[in-house]
């Protein structure tokens, strides 16, 4: 018992000193489990996130756009692989985590349960969804768990590129024909509020936040990060003539922050519970890919057993 206490004290001491926790270090089970939950959720989000954008690869309007979008979605697969590997350092394997996703036991970011209806959605996702992810992940890059922190540093670099290409898609459309402008505005109208929801519930309703902040996995509250995202995004919208679909949005000279309207949390919880426009389709696509690929994975194992044992 006393040994456990001293281990826990040593762990707390490390955190207090701003040291990073590495896979072989002792850690409380709750710390480990919270990290597994968060990191696998993040990896699953990258995987499911391939689907809404994958929806437009074959229809990209130029070869250059096709190439960039393909590269972007490929990056997401790479991020998933990277984060799954980082999660495996906590003593679970990828297969187990993927099973949890398919069985509905693990979550992924709700944003991917919204449909991509026009090409402008590729712009809105890059600009708003990846923009929100960058704000979240830049904070996570300083988190206390070494493998996750390092994964975030690397991933943020690529996300910045995604963010720029998304913004550039919309900027170009806003200089284009009337229909293109309408398409761009329509996409932002649909993606703005779900993007704000990506930061999670408001602080008082965030069940895991207190522990995660204590362990320095989370360094900023959901509301702080959301505000940071809004503050950096609104001027970008102004610069290209996009209107943010929030009549209550206004700049407060005193606080130097934007004030914004009420987020529809009923919608947020409803999508989390599985009632979003695409929850069913996304999970169906993922489980189908997994099921259809079963014989391939079996063949890989059979071949390896014959030739490498």
């Amino acid at each position: 018992m006393s040994e456990t206490i001293s281990k826990e004290q040593a762990f707390d001491q490390k955190l207090a000193n701003g040291q990073v926790i590495e896979p072989k270090d002792w850690m409380p089970e709750r710390y480990r489990n919270q990290l597994i939950r968060m990191m696998s959720q993040h990896a699953h989000s990258e995987v499911v996130g391939m689907l809404p954008e994958g929806n437009w690869i074959t229809r990209a309007p130029s070869l250059e756009r096709k190439l960039v979008l393909l590269a972007k979605v490929q990056d997401e697969a790479g991020h998933a692989l990277y984060i799954y590997s980082a999660t495996e350092t906590l003593g679970v394997d990828r297969k187990e985590l993927i099973d949890q996703l398919h069985e509905g036991k693990a979550k992924y970011s709700s944003i991917f349960n919204y449909p991509t209806l026009t090409w402008a959605d590729m712009g809105a996702i890059g600009w708003l969804v990846d923009g929100a992810a960058i704000v979240n992940q830049t904070a996570l890059a300083k988190c206390s768990y070494g493998p996750y922190s390092r994964a975030m540093i690397r991933i943020c670099k690529e996300e910045n590129f995604h963010n720029k290409q998304g913004y550039q898609i919309l900027a170009r459309m806003m200089q284009g024909t009337e229909v293109q402008k309408k398409m761009a505005q329509d996409a932002v109208n649909r993606w703005w509020w779900p993007s704000l929801m990506m930061f999670g519930p408001t602080d008082k309703d965030s069940p895991n936040s207190a522990d995660l902040m204590k362990w320095k996995v989370k360094l900023h509250s959901n509301d702080d990060l959301r505000q940071r995202f809004i503050d950096r995004t609104v001027p970008q919208a102004d610069a290209i003539g996009i209107k943010i679909p929030d009549p209550e949005l206004k700049y407060n000279e005193k606080t130097r922050h934007y004030e914004f309207g009420q987020i529809n949390w009923d919608e947020f919880y409803s999508v989390i519970r599985g009632n979003g426009p695409c929850n069913h389709e996304r999970m169906k696509a993922r489980t189908k890919a997994h099921k259809d690929g079963k014989w391939v994975r079996e063949a890989v194992e059979a071949y390896a057993a014959k030739h490498f044992n």
Partner: protein
């Protein structure tokens, strides 16, 4: 057909094959059997679309009719496409897709090896760059053909079935087009006479190692890709791929 027209036509054969093959592989994105394959298939697709951009741009410049890579990709109808038929076939299962990359990859590898000695500097540069990429695609696909062929009973059956079905379209690869004849005659490109023998040799080695049977090509009526005579599939690929450009012809993206 003038020498210039032949060069344009030949570039379209190559560019359209890379484009349509790449377009098909991109359909896998997010649906592969393992995450590593999502990455690999996308990578191959990226290479192919990159190749298409380079050679279609050159086709447009040689033609000199103000058609760039996008004009050529998005504003031609199926009968003007010059890709080989195998590229436009639907992906099928993972074995069928790997079979496509395998058979077409080794065709491209041998073709680009020949074109690396072209007297046309742009064609030569294109072939040298693309050859490096295609060698990797061949290696990747061959590894899978071997793994699946020598894996489980099911994977062996699937891989064999895929190769047998794809063999219906492999003579189309070696049908000599008019533009190929002219470019060889004009000595702009070296002879393509050994292409089929070299290709057959390459694929036979892999198929044997995969413990599979060499499929017999029997495809008298499945020819014509290079002449613009396609399968029913190409029209559907184009209606998908060209949608935005066709629906909003005034727009720049």
């Amino acid at each position: 057909m003038t020498k210039q027209e032949a060069l344009v036509d030949f570039c379209l054969q190559i560019g359209d094959t890379s484009l349509i093959h790449g377009q098909r592989l991109a359909e896998w994105c997010g649906h592969a059997p393992i995450l590593e394959e999502d990455i690999a298939l996308t990578n191959i697709s990226l290479d192919l679309i990159g190749q298409a951009r380079m050679i279609l741009t050159y086709a447009g410049q040689t033609e000199n009719k103000h058609r760039d890579e996008d004009k050529l990709s998005f504003h031609r109808d199926a009968w003007d496409f010059r890709n080989v038929l195998i590229a436009e076939l639907p992906n099928g299962d993972f074995a069928f897709t790997m079979g496509k990359i395998f058979l077409l990859g080794f065709y491209m590898k041998n073709l680009f090896t020949v074109l690396s000695n072209s007297k046309d500097p742009s064609l030569k540069a294109f072939a040298e760059k693309s050859l490096k990429e295609v060698i990797y695609h061949c290696r990747h696909a061959a590894d899978w053909v071997i793994r699946l062929g020598d894996g489980t009973i099911e994977s062996k059956e699937r891989m064999q079935k895929a190769l047998n079905e794809l063999a219906l379209y492999t003579d189309d690869l070696f049908e000599v087009s008019e533009s190929e004849k002219i470019l060889v005659q004009e000595k702009l490109i070296p002879s393509l006479a050994d292409l089929k023998t070299n290709w057959s040799h390459d694929i036979a080695a892999v198929i044997t190692q995969a413990t599979l049977k060499l499929p017999q090509a029997n495809n008298a009526l499945r020819l014509g890709g290079k002449a613009g005579l396609h399968t029913e599939h190409l029209g559907h690929i184009l209606s998908d791929m060209q949608f935005l450009q066709r629906a909003y012809p005034d727009a720049k993206w």
